[in-house]
Amino acid sequence: MTTNPMHQFAVYKLGPEIKIAGIDLSFTNASLFMLLSAVSICGVLFLGTKEKKIIPDRFQLISELFYNFIAKMINDTAGSKAKPYFPFIFSLFMFVLFCNMLGMLPYSFTVTSHIIVTLIMAIFIFFAVTIIGFLKHGFGYLKLFVPSGVPVVLLPLITVIEIISYLSRPVSLSVRLFANMMAGHTMLKVFGGFVISLGVLGGWLPLGFSVALTGLEILVAFLQAYVFAILTCIYLNDALNLHH
């Protein structure tokens, strides 16, 4: 029996080792769960859009719900100019949500509890937003670092502070998702371990706690996907509608 609460985060190879040009590209359990979430997203959306009924069935209802949710979120936070980026934000949200939710199943692996996965997504968003900003505004995008209405004496200080604040975006975006998922799953495992070690007599209290925590974790899994997507929208809004 594995009582180590960190054991669930171990990445191991499935199948043979694949090495291309010195880079380890073996198929791991992390790749399996990324693939699973991508396949289940495609499955849900395929079933949801196969028959366009007036009275929707479950899959159609849930696909329409997701679509409306993201469309409303983009419209509220980034305005109509961000409409072309809908597919990107939609797939980002769905991927993070399904990775988090698949991680809630027993014996499964949570892809988003690894910082490398979340950091890669956050860095991609960071560079994409920066490139979009420079494409839309040219060097005028640098005005983001020079807020208007600041005394000239304070300007260098404020500019440095704004640059720090811009550079900390990918860090906070990735650390938030990773830390929440990892902390939650570790806590679940620790309470699960208490149930085993306290036995039939004392195990009921931690068992109740783990039931409550599972509910909380499902909320956090959804909320983190939501926060990840809405922050992407906010960053996109900064890049598209440059104003102070």
Binding site: L157, I161, I164, S172, V175, R176, L223, V227, I230
Partner: protein
């Protein structure tokens, strides 16, 4: 006169509907405020961390060992607190509507 009454009842129904939908939005805001709580807490830490990392890198570039890391640690803290104030102001503006 009947027409007038008809209009009144229709107005009442419409107002009730509006109220329900605004209550819905209140519910929605609850989850988004929890989201911004997550955002604020990590943002504060991330700003300090990024400021310190920048100070560390600049220190090893210019060989001014302890000074830039100290300065940038405080700049990072200032940036974090400013960011929290900015987000709080935005949240307050949203609440006005």
């Amino acid at each position: 006169m009947a027409n007038h009454d008809d209009f009144k009842t229709r107005l009442k129904i419409a107002k009730k509907r509006l109220k329900i939908s605004s209550e819905d939005q209140g519910n929605n805001q609850n989850s988004s405020s929890m989201g911004s709580a997550f955002k604020l807490s990590t943002d504060l830490v991330a700003h300090v961390a990024v400021g310190t990392i920048i100070g560390f890198i600049l220190d090893s570039w210019f060989d001014t060992k302890p000074w830039l890391i100290i300065i940038f640690f405080f700049l990072g803290s200032v940036a974090g607190i400013l960011n929290v104030i900015k987000t709080a102001k935005q949240m307050q503006e949203k609440d006005k509507f």
